[in-house]
Symmetry: C2
């Protein structure tokens, strides 16, 4: 008789984490929101390469996973603010370590294209 499946829950919680934040846009969104609450339009302006539709779905998924909080004001024109939940804030130091790891281990990459233009 031989084992056939993964033994360790660590691997699976990891998989779960990746399902939540391991995609193209979510780390960026979480990072941006770490500076404080932000409106939909501002997020969209800061990441012009994301379409409104995709931004909407990413925010909705993050909200479902309770990583961000959506607060909408009954105004015209509408105003909606997104902010990080406590769950997400607990993630920030780990994300920072991941960044650090990448910087330390891939020094050949300049990450220039990430630098700013103007706001």
């Amino acid at each position: 008789m031989s084992r056939k499946y993964i033994d360790n829950p660590n691997a699976c919680t990891l998989v779960h984490t990746m399902n939540i934040i391991g995609n193209k846009w979510k780390p960026i969104i979480i990072y941006l929101l770490s500076n404080g609450p932000m409106r939909f339009g501002k997020l969209n302006a800061l990441v012009p390469t994301i379409s409104k539709k995709v931004l909407t779905t990413q925010l909705k998924e993050l909200e479902n996973d309770e990583l961000i909080i959506r607060k909408s004001y009954a105004e015209i024109p509408p105003r909606v603010e997104y902010s990080l939940s406590e769950k997400a804030k607990g993630l920030l130091p780990v994300l920072k370590e991941l960044s650090q790891w990448a910087e330390n281990n891939f020094p050949e990459i300049e990450f220039e294209e990430c630098r700013i233009v103007d706001l």
Copy 2:
């Protein structure tokens, strides 16, 4: 004049990290290899739901990113051993923190299906 692009390299190193390990199988592979070198067949047996083709491409990509080391012996039948590089070992504590974060913040999830069967 207003800023139009993301300001912070943190977000982008993060994106880079996610590109490397943020997918369905790589965290699992890295975790399994953290127990020591392992052969292709054993990896495949431990994760029976991954196809040989996909396992091959994942291992190849991890090797290109210098996270794992592929050692092949000129024997018949062939023998190939995979192990973690130093780069990848530096990542392990962070991955563990990510696991920990998921366990702490999603207590409602049992992660039962991750438990073992037999080896």
